[in-house]
Amino acid sequence: MIHRLTFIAANTFREAVRDRVLYNLVAFALLLVGAALLVGKISIGLERIVLINLGLSAITVFGVVLSIFIGIGLVSKEIDKRTLYTVLARPVRRWEFLLGKYLGLTATLIVNTFFMCVGLFAALLSVTRSLSQTDLPILIAVYFILLEFLIITAVAILFSSFSTPIFSAVFSFAMFVVGSFSDDLRGFAGMSEGIQRQIAYALTYAVPNFAAMNVASQVAHGVRLPLALILHNTLYAIFYSGMALSAAVLIFERRNLK
């Protein structure tokens, strides 16, 4: 079983690399170079803060776009092109296929994020002329962004297991946006009453809590992040992705591949 998961994940990673998915790194690099050049001129004394905020936001946007657009195609593309038929005609269980694809895309996102992170530190070095221990929390912020990718990829796979690619993209993107403002949603629920309050609270728990994972501002201002937050976010991401993937598997196991 582990072998089959590894083979499917490796093939998914190879497909992403050969389909030039990692070319987005060029756009990211250009953005950071441009930002590094501009930042010094427009934000005297705040270069570090602006660059960290901009860099982490760019890593998030680039990664989320990849997670959603590749995630929704992981299954639907295989069905449309019928490449899935020859895989499932072998001793490969449907859940193994789905999980293998998920792991392959996760590996792609980790590699992509690693290079973007290296780019961010390089830009930071070029602007501030030195790196210090206070820059290390950036790695925690990048780790949280990766956790966001794990969740949004699982959500994209869940939607694509029963919906069309376009709707899946719209739903997944909506989940990302609402999840990013989950703190505001919780605040709204607290101020509401009656059925509206219940619905708002239900939504708060249903959408992924990305607000807790966005620590760009704290990191940029050198605020220390508690270990409990790292642990909480890690467990939360594993739990949420696990639930989304389990639901996707339940749907996919019953699906007729016409």
């Binding site: 072998h3 089959r4 083979f7 499917i8 093939n11 190879r14 497909e15 050969r18 389909d19 092109k81 019928r82 490449t83 038929y85 020859t86 895989v87 499932l88 005609a89 072998r90 001793p91 490969v92 269980r93 019953r254 007729n256 591949l257 016409k258």
Partner: protein
Amino acid sequence: MSAIKISGLSKTYTTGFWHRSLKSGLKDLSLEVHEGEVFGCLGANGAGKTTTLKILMGLVFPTSGSATILGREIGDPEVKRQIGFLPEQPYFYDHLTAAELLEYFAQLSGVEAKSRSRKVAEMLARVGLSESSGTQLRKFSKGMLQRVGIAQAIIHEPRIVFLDEPMSGLDPIGRREVRELIQSLNDEGRTIFFSTHILSDAEALCDRVAVLHQGELRGIGVVAELTAKSGGKVEIVFEGKQAMPNVQQLGGECRVAGETVRAILSGSVVDKCIDSIRQTGAKLISVNPLQASLEEYFLSQLPDVRLQERS
């Protein structure tokens, strides 16, 4: 033991936005395929051939009925180690080369790592793609894809090979190559179950065939026996046009070439016909029983199709 046993298999699809309309893909199909035979599933487009194959491969779930492969329920992972499948109009991961694709499928089929490379090379040689082993599949022609498709279906040496329209869309040379490949697989003792609407291929390859129409089984049996059932005509060749009126009176269709007359008529009037030819002094040359083609049998099982085509 039967290689494949299908019992009362039915499949109904829901269609429309609200999934309220029902469309029948397969109706109470029962058949058995013996080990070592080449079995053809014939039918026009939409007859239920691909649905049958997809159910057997576990890609589509039946509405009712059951099927076993090598005595085990379909969907059993152990069964899937014993079968190979080539889908209709195959499309493979086109970012891979032919060798990488076969390596990947060998991995998924549980072929041991130490023998994988050797098997990949053997399969590529067998389907005549050794020289293209390093070429990405996006650069392959349809015929080459079909051949790599057959290679992936047999890389793990399955006991049963399922082929969905393996000759469809190929040129005559490609068809002949695929036909020879199928024949060689059968010569090795593998059971072949293939669907096709190209009757000449089925006639050349199959030990037995099943005819499907609109999801229903219309006929099943040994090709020679089926064609004999719908035959029963005899060709009589003689010299002497004077015998022609008598032969025509017995229902014979005559064609004349010089003094030679070639008549085709029902087997039940052969004796009368021979007598009348001799009486007129014509010279009898030969009497040959005619066997109907599979196409004639196929069409005889689908009278409503012919009516629709005529109207």
